[in-house]
Symmetry: C2
Subunit: 356 residues, 2 copies
Amino acid sequence: MSEYRAFNNISSYWMEGKGSDSDIVISSRVRLARNSPEYPFPDHMTLQQERDFLNRVQAIPKTKAGNHLEDLEFIDLSLIPKEEKMVLVEKHQISPQLALSQGATGILINAAETLSVMINEEDHIRIQSIYPGLSVDQCWEKAAAADEMISRYVPPAFSPKWGYLTSCPTNTGTGMRASVMLHLPALVYTKQAKNTLDSLGKYGFTCRGLYGEGTDGKGNLFQISNQITMGLSEQEIIEGLNGIVGEIVAKEREMRKRLLERDRIFLEDRVFRAEAVLKNARLLDSNEGFTLLSALRLGSDLKLVQGYSAKEFNQLLLLMQPVILEKMNRKKLTRNEMMKCRADLIRNKLTGGDRL
Amino acid sequence: MSEYRAFNNISSYWMEGKGSDSDIVISSRVRLARNSPEYPFPDHMTLQQERDFLNRVQAIPKTKAGNHLEDLEFIDLSLIPKEEKMVLVEKHQISPQLALSQGATGILINAAETLSVMINEEDHIRIQSIYPGLSVDQCWEKAAAADEMISRYVPPAFSPKWGYLTSCPTNTGTGMRASVMLHLPALVYTKQAKNTLDSLGKYGFTCRGLYGEGTDGKGNLFQISNQITMGLSEQEIIEGLNGIVGEIVAKEREMRKRLLERDRIFLEDRVFRAEAVLKNARLLDSNEGFTLLSALRLGSDLKLVQGYSAKEFNQLLLLMQPVILEKMNRKKLTRNEMMKCRADLIRNKLTGGDRL
């Protein structure tokens, strides 16, 4: 098992459950796509070019100016087994594509895991910043500072007409993807989620699940991000996102209030059942885990149950993932063993035997 | 609300959870169909004839010899609202047909509810005896004694060739239906129930659910009874039933042992989840109630959970029925109110606030 900090740290700062509207907004993220004009885009690079570029970026934190990039740790992902790389995927620090890549890829990541730089993914460089709560501005500030520093050593391909050039044209322009992860159980329970989220498209935003497209609504978690990267400034995109998220948050709060007032017994039934099952099940699959943790988290937000923290829920969502369960158990697990480990983990954490 | 004992007594002796093999055999029952040659069968009787016959049978407990029939209470069912009659159906003391009948019908029933006599149901007289555990012989003894007494006053239609004549030819002969109610969760969990119970036909026995045909397996409860009433003596039928039930009970025990040895985690998961949900749900429908109580009862039988009694489970199966819930709440309930009352009842009983 690798000794890199990022593989052994089970907590990222974005899981702290802090920040603005943190009862609904789990985390915010800004990602910047950058490429060097000195190389072809990654899908056309030779292994030698990849290695060469990786070495250049790897060296940046050791430079004098690069020290401002904090305590960045470099990980040469080509030396890491796929199973271990999946830990970073489950922590939302790298994409599944990067974990599966056969090339010379790497990541720079700080101790708090609020800043990371993927190297030779779809673009040469992808700078990512994640913070808890509604904090897109903070993410942008962090990512922009890293961008400025890195661009001194690896000047980006930039066209006055098109903006930042990217491997996929959908990212060209700002090269920015700003997103927030929202927990919207009340919108789902009251069947308002689909309508609310389907209308995002016309404002230039899109909705995906916790682990990307096709996972919408797992654990009632939805990721809202900008679809448009060209023709708007970074500030305009961020303002637009903050505005639309503010509306969704208000609607979720309204539905939570309505549930409490009109369907309290239905809500209590969901919440108390979820708590009971999480504290007593001996086998738990991932989907049920997501569903029950969502209900319990809502109950905690609405003070129907006591003694839980947002951090605890965020960490459980992470820890119950397959690869991390295997890492904690230091072996491959069968499906049944996985269900048992997941149930044991959550039961022990929630019943206080092993409180986070 | 009627003041008759049978409507207000929420416990019948058969629910005591006593007797042979009472971890698997909930109760035993013998029913005897008898008719008077002086009247047409009930479906051809005039209301005057029904009333006349009802009066004759009603008078029997007041006779000197009839005193041996214990503390029988007579209820003129034509004076009782349908909703109230359903209480007796849910207590397995009268058939749904009798509750729905528009005619002059009645019942004699003792305080322990181990003996009852339905009047003007499908047959003029149906004598029924129910005891807890595997106790078909005891039921037969009780029913036969009542039969002997009643036949002094209302001699039965009997043909030396055909035996007791009945309204439906499937009952002709002994007029006897002997049955046992079995709790077979391990056979169900290990998918052995269907095979085991489907084979009963060739031995002249049949399987139905707790509330008759079409309810097979609700709460993993199965009622085994003789199909053949002619060509065998009562003793032969009872011996046959005792034999076949002994085999099913042995198989259920074997599967319980196998589950404990080979699938303990699966079993624990079911049992602990059931206990958790029953103690915490705020809404509970009847089917889920049956399923969860069955799992918890199995867990109690296997000592995976402590502090429950068979009597408690039997009473909850009864009390959570719709009509009895309405009776306890003294009003008609909507579907949601019913689910809430059921959840409240079970939660309060099991968490000790209102221990039976």
